[in-house]
Amino acid sequence: MLRSIYSYELKSLLKQPAIYFYFVVFFGIALLSMLGTGGFFDGVSETDKEVRFLNSAHQINFIFQYFNKFLMFLLPAIIGMVIYKDYKSNVHPILYSYPIQKSDYLLGKFLSSLTIVFLITLSVGFAFFLGELILGTNNPMIGSMNFLGYVSAYLFFVWPNLFVYGLLIFMVVASLRNIYAGFISVILLFFIQIMIDNLFEGTPLLFALLDPFGQNAVAYETRFWTISEQNVRQIPVLGVVLWNRLLWTTFGLLLFGLFYKKFQLEQETFRLLPNIGRRRLGKEPKSNPVKSRIENTKVTIDFSLLDQVKAMLKLSAIDFRFIIKNWLFRVLVFFGVLALVFAVSRVTNRADMTYLPLTRIVLAVPMYFFSLVIMLVTFIYAGMLVHRSLIAKSNQLIDTTATTNWVLLGSKILALLKVQLLLLLVMMLCGIGMQLYNGYYQLEIDLYLFHLLIITFPTLIIWAALSVFTHTLVPNIYMGIFLLLLIWIGRDQFPQIGIDTYILRFNSPPQLAYSDLNGFGHGLVAHLIINVYWLSFSAILILLTYLFWERGYSHSLKERIQKAVKQLKGYTFYAFLLLLTLLCFWGFYIFQEENGQFKTTENNEQILKDFKANFGKYKTAIQPKITSVKLKMELYPEINSFRTSGSYMLVNQSLEPIDTLLIKTGYDEITDYTFGVISRIFEKDDALQFAVHILEKPIESGDSIRMEFEIKNKPNTLFYQNSNVLKNGTFLRTDILPRLGYFFDDEYYEPTDSLARFTNFYSPDADLVDIETIISTNHLQTAIAPGTLIKQWAENNRNYFHYKTEKKIKFAFAFHSGDFSVSKSNHKGVNLEIYHHENHTFNLKDMTEGLKASLDYNTRFFGLYQHTEIRTVEFPVTEGTYASVMGNTIPTSEGRFILRNGEAKNQINLSFYVLVSCQYSNVG
């Protein structure tokens, strides 16, 4: 009996096209990822570093981690379905009256579907293996063939995981007789895994044991492996890994045992909870005679445009209600909120750096978790709405009404969008709740609304359009969801297979980061333009959905296409043309901007390698030293650009005459320079902005020449920002200035003798220098350069500042410009100034105390501070989260200004440490 059930189900599964579809899809993804990681699409860079073999047991196991998660989807779709279909098709009352053993029935069904799932998983292994062969043994990332690695991955991880969770899903679906419960269980499992990951991070052993997928156990056992060990050794299956596998297998089997006892081959399923059951209304109320004369109500049947729009709105309200009343939806949202709360609390309570729950932080981190929920909800409910009438078998009733396709389609899309908005609102409320709970009251509602409605929502609309389109074309709702999940996960991988252009990367606008100082920055416009592009694409998708909307029955794909083409006439056709033109226009514009003249170059490694080969001979060339710098800097925050003119004094401090100058200018800048003497260019490399100049007359020992230069940033394009000048919070560094010498060696110079204390090991082309800067910016901002402020004036609606260093400093400069508030104090003759965003006042007091404390400390041990002021200047978090010392300025990331008050101790320590290093390196 077991055998017949097993073979029947197996054959029946093998007849389903979906099985082969899944096989092919997994095969394809696995192959592409193998090839992509192995450099098939963009070439392998040759490095001397030790390479990890892609086909080592360790790596195979590692890559399988991701596939394990994806393969889980197969469990409800195949294993859950094999038992659910008996209930769905209502065959169980017949079947259960037969002389079938419970064991045969359950095992037969489970084992057959499990077999199929196992077979599908083999696709991944095949793909990897094929990938290995294609990449070839010449590829540095491919080591010797490792069959055992595959075997161990399958035997100890892939198959046991699927076995245990298959049991679980099977159990859930068989008891609840509901396939959606199966999907929820998978999602639940993922959540549990994430929770466990986060809760037990601190205790590695528990962490390893409690990972349901076994991967943390592997990580634990191999955590000390070097790369060469990873390349050669097999995954250790004893130790923690074994315990983990035993633990979870036993757990699964126990649960299944419990289920098995309670399961009966009966009409109704066993009840875990007391009867909350369905009430069947079988009884007919007592029969009333049919009223012979019932007033016929005259109704106006109206299909005018206005009424159809009204109908669409009314129908979408009904569809919306359908979604939010659905229990699956509520469960998903509940988990989403949990994850969100969890994520926010992690940010505000981390061990090392704890931040205040600023709105931008709440929006950044938890967004990711909650967006998963919104995506899932969109994919699932688009399908449920599109197929709703089919599933309920009301489609014949609905399709024979005169309501047009666009009303039916429109109502569903509107309902989806409303649900998305609702979820965004939930997110906002949760975020606000968390902020208030943590005692933070600067809720920036406008930022919430802007971020959620203008930045996030368009992306969601595009997904909704794609979901509805997919579900309309694909008849099987699960395949539709699967496809959508595939596209969602897959689009991030496009760059891996060589597709970089935004016009093909579906709905993937450039990432935006928010800074209180600079807002969303220049990336916002690019982001919005990409959104508009994909929105026009969505409009086309919606139009196509309308054409292909199924009304009644079609018996072949050809018939569907015919029907669709027939609908393409009149206004519809013109609309289609219009949208297509719009799309092409945007696409073209984006494409132009992407391939602008000043795009950043790729394949940097190869360029560097060539350069080292050609110019390496100059490594040891002696160069003059820069002793003084004069700059005239003009910043234009509104157009994100700057112009600088300036000069160096170059002194030959060596004993030999120097006739060759090696000049490297900034990558993102256009620099013109001349020397005080006649010279010619001997060799140059444009990619790395490096040139070798031969002087007509060499500089004698002790002699000096002037170098004059004009710098401006390469023009900014929509996607590439070549200058670091921001609308607010500009932070320019020394890398915009020309440098001397061969800068490309990885080794740093070690101080060799006590004299070296006077030289600076950081920059071989300059020791300590004087710098004088006249820096100007727009009339709203304050500009800061190294040195003391000598003069400040306004001219032509711009602010001018003249700085000059009184003592020499390292050749590491910071130039800032921003709309700052300043907090000033004085400590034993040193001016302490903190330039900050007007709202970032949380830690000012502690920072000032920290500065004073470190001044005292350093003065005691290293001598007096050599400048008359210390300026702490805030720069946007998008530029970094560090703090540094450059001259008498301490550029400090915005991130450090918003540490939680309780943790501000860290901030004091930071200033302390930073100043210590500053003093130490500047000691003279």
Partner: protein, 295 residues
């Protein structure tokens, strides 16, 4: 008037569901009789604009369905053979939903109409209960209720009484009777009694073709004096089947069979003339014929 001209449809699996169907249907109750698989549902679905035929056309009151399905839908009421409803919705709410879909935009009008159809189908008492919990008969009546919302002039009902108990069936047919007078009600069934009770005109269909088109009374009249009965033993059945135009048989309490045969004149003395020619006889006679034609 509903005019069906040369309608043909072959499914991808090769089954020719409709084979050059030609029918003219006047207002009144029109019964479409035929065994399972005859093509009745395919015909109904095609007229109801749910399926496109391979060739031929359907014209209703001057509307060519192929070119302008929407106009037909505005005045169509369709009750399919099998239909479902959204779970956990009351009859009232569902009818309101269907009313929106049928184009009744005024909320007040919808409310009135929904009440009216609920009364007409005797579901007013249970209007707030979930339709998914209704019994078979109530559900069929609900199907009629939604059909009536837009005062349709063409009503198509596909095998509506299958699975109803006698009381339910009776009630259902009463409702149908009430609405069938000025409109065309196209009513398909394989239960001869239904046609007998209700229809003013009928056609018999098998293998995708229309075999007879005439009124029930005409049909019965045709066979007057041509139906004969005889009591035989069960073992003799095969002999009689092969010798005579066998129509049908029924068991008596003593396990003997009473058979009915067709004959233009008396074929055998042992036969008695049937008291009454029934529509069943018409039906089996027509089927017999077709079986012979294909033999």
């Amino acid at each position: 008037m509903l005019s069906i001209q040369n309608l043909t449809k072959t499914y991808p699996n090769g089954v020719k569901a409709l084979d050059e169907i030609n029918l003219e249907i006047q207002p009144g109750m029109f019964g479409l009789l035929g065994p399972n698989g005859a093509g009745k549902s395919s015909l109904m679905r095609t007229i109801a604009t749910l399926q496109t035929p391979d060739s031929g056309k359907v014209v209703f009151s001057g509307i060519d369905i192929a070119n302008d399905p929407m106009s037909l839908r505005k005045t169509l009421g369709y009750l399919p053979q099998e239909f479902g409803v959204y779970p956990k919705e009351s009859a009232e709410n569902l009818l309101d939903y269907f009313a929106i879909l049928k184009g009744i935009s005024s909320r007040k009008e919808r409310k009135c109409k929904v009440e009216e159809v609920l009364h007409l189908t005797n579901l007013f008492e249970v209007r707030k209960k979930h339709v998914s919990s209704y019994s078979g008969g109530m559900r069929q009546r609900f199907g009629i209720a939604q059909l009536l919302l837009n005062d349709p002039q063409l009503i198509i009902v596909d095998e509506p009484t299958a699975g109803l108990d006698p009381e339910e069936r009776n009630r259902f047919l009463n409702v149908l009777r009430g609405i069938g007078t000025e409109n065309i009600v196209l009513f398909s069934t394989h239960l001869v009694e239904d046609v007998k009770e209700l229809c003013t005109d009928m056609a018999m269909m098998k293998h995708g073709k229309i075999y007879r088109h005439l009124t029930p009374s005409q049909a019965v009249k045709e066979l007057e004096s041509k139906i004969w009965t005889k009591r035989i033993l069960a073992t003799e059945l095969e002999h009689y089947k092969s010798t005579f135009n066998y129509l049908s048989s029924s068991y008596n309490e003593d396990h003997s069979l009473t058979i009915r045969v067709f004959a233009d004149n008396t074929s055998h003395d042992s036969f008695e003339k049937a008291e009454k020619v029934t529509l069943e006889d018409v039906y089996f006679h027509a089927l017999e014929k077709t079986v012979e034609e294909y033999a």
